[in-house]
């Protein structure tokens, strides 16, 4: 064959693979979550009553109610598709919630309805995890050190505060969501929800102190739409 034919075939193959790599759906909603105003100063956590945890830190950790980053970025914000996408079955992998250093890791765990939630205790002290739902069934469970992980699931979509009955400063959140289009912002505040089929969507951003905000966006093909959220910070 002539060289130009080979090159064109190569390009064609590349183009074909690029189309197949784009996947069944195409659109992406991405953006950044920021704040305006002055957020409250996060205080260092006093763990003196639990020396086995306190000694794990060279400087005391701060509370994670409001997580900020450079450029007024807001971390730990759950951004998700609250309307427009069908409910999805839960994935088979478990969502992992860890108690370590007398804190919850991650501070906010987003997972799906009926997805297995696995809670482990890596500390030398007992914890008693107590989620406080309004729609789902309320339970609390003690987990002595060295006992197997707790396995639970929630069957309704809800934002659930989580506390430890033994260590009052331990606080976290579960975001139980209906579909797989969600992200929790890192402290850069950036998020990206990919693989959205064409349609009209409501995107919600939820921050545990500042509440929620919604925006509507329409995806027609495989474009990327930008949606930004700005929350008003509270000084106290």
């Amino acid at each position: 064959m002539r060289k130009s034919h080979v090159v064109m075939a190569g390009f064609a193959m590349l183009a074909a693979s690029a189309v197949t790599m784009a996947g069944p759906a195409g659109g992406t909603v991405s953006g950044k979550v920021t704040y305006e105003g002055t957020p409250a100063k996060m205080k260092p956590i006093d763990m003196s009553k639990e020396p086995s945890c306190a000694k794990m830190y060279s400087t005391p950790p701060v509370a994670e109610t409001v997580v900020t980053g450079p450029g007024n970025a807001l971390g730990d914000v759950v951004v998700y598709v609250s309307a427009g996408a069908p409910d999805e079955a839960a994935p088979s992998t478990a969502a992992i919630f860890t108690q370590k250093g007398c804190r919850y890791i991650p501070h906010i765990l987003a997972f799906q309805v009926n997805q297995e939630l696995k809670i482990s205790n890596e500390d030398q002290t007992s914890h008693n995890i107590h989620p406080l739902p309004k729609l789902n069934r309320e339970w609390n469970k003690s987990q002595p050190p060295g006992t197997p992980p707790i396995s639970e699931k929630y069957d309704k979509s809800e934002f659930i505060p989580v506390k430890c009955n033994i260590h009052p400063w331990m606080h976290g959140n579960f975001a139980v969501l209906k579909n797989s289009h969600y992200a929790v912002t890192p402290d850069s505040g950036a998020f990206s929800l990919a693989n959205l089929p064409p349609g009209k969507y409501t995107i919600t951003a939820w921050q545990e102190s500042y509440g929620e905000q919604t925006q509507e966006v329409t995806i027609s093909g495989s474009e990327t739409k930008t949606v930004n959220f700005v929350f008003k910070a509270k000084p106290y």
Binding site: A63, K163, P168, W169, Y236
Partner: protein, 265 residues
Amino acid sequence: MGKLLAVVLVIIALASAYPIIANKYPLPEDISTHGHQIDEQIKDTMLEAGLSFVGAQLVLALFLWSFTGRKPGSPLKNFPGGAKVMVIAAFLIVGSEILALGVLGQKAWANVYFAPPRADAIQVQAQAEQFAFYFRYPGPDGKFGAIHPDKIDEGNQNYFGLDPANEVEARDDIVSGELVVPVDHEIQLLMHAKDVGHSFYVRELRIQQDFVPGLDLSVHFTPTKIGKYEIVCTQLCGLGHYNMKAYLNVMSQADYEAWLKTQSQ
């Protein structure tokens, strides 16, 4: 077998008394101004109780030894004086103990509970909750902000439900997980229970007092030695009761003031 029991009784009595006589389980060191009176009372009571205990077990042993396994037909005897002697002895022995310990020993109780706190006592509010103690200092303005139960937000470490957004007095309040105090200065602890009954107990301070929901209780004391001492909850308050503690951190006056300054920032 009666004689065997007599021997075992003697062994038990002496074995029980030994750890006390040899001071194998001494009271923790006393770091308070009033504690020595309590310790004195414990010592006096231990002497009287110890003598009664050992005495009674030895008498029981003696009588068992003497009056078991007797030859059939041995004469029966009655204790000289009979029951009357016992009644008189009981009244005399116990009566004098009651007088000595009960009546004369009220000083220690009075010192803790009847004497009012000094005017210059440092006031610290203590809140007991499931399952931690938190302590609040009024800050430079000397005033405690109000407590709003509906504003409690533990994830944000607002354990007392303060409202600094709307109340000026609450803005400079210092909340600490440790009870930090200067040595040789009277402290008045204002005690508030957030949820259920708890209790404040520092062994070395010889102080123990319940937190009762709905009641404004207070207790005052003067720590006399620098160091860290455990504050433990002694009123069953739920599943975390065993791990409900804080530390009393007695510092020098200079260190205490420096600590207050760092907390205010």
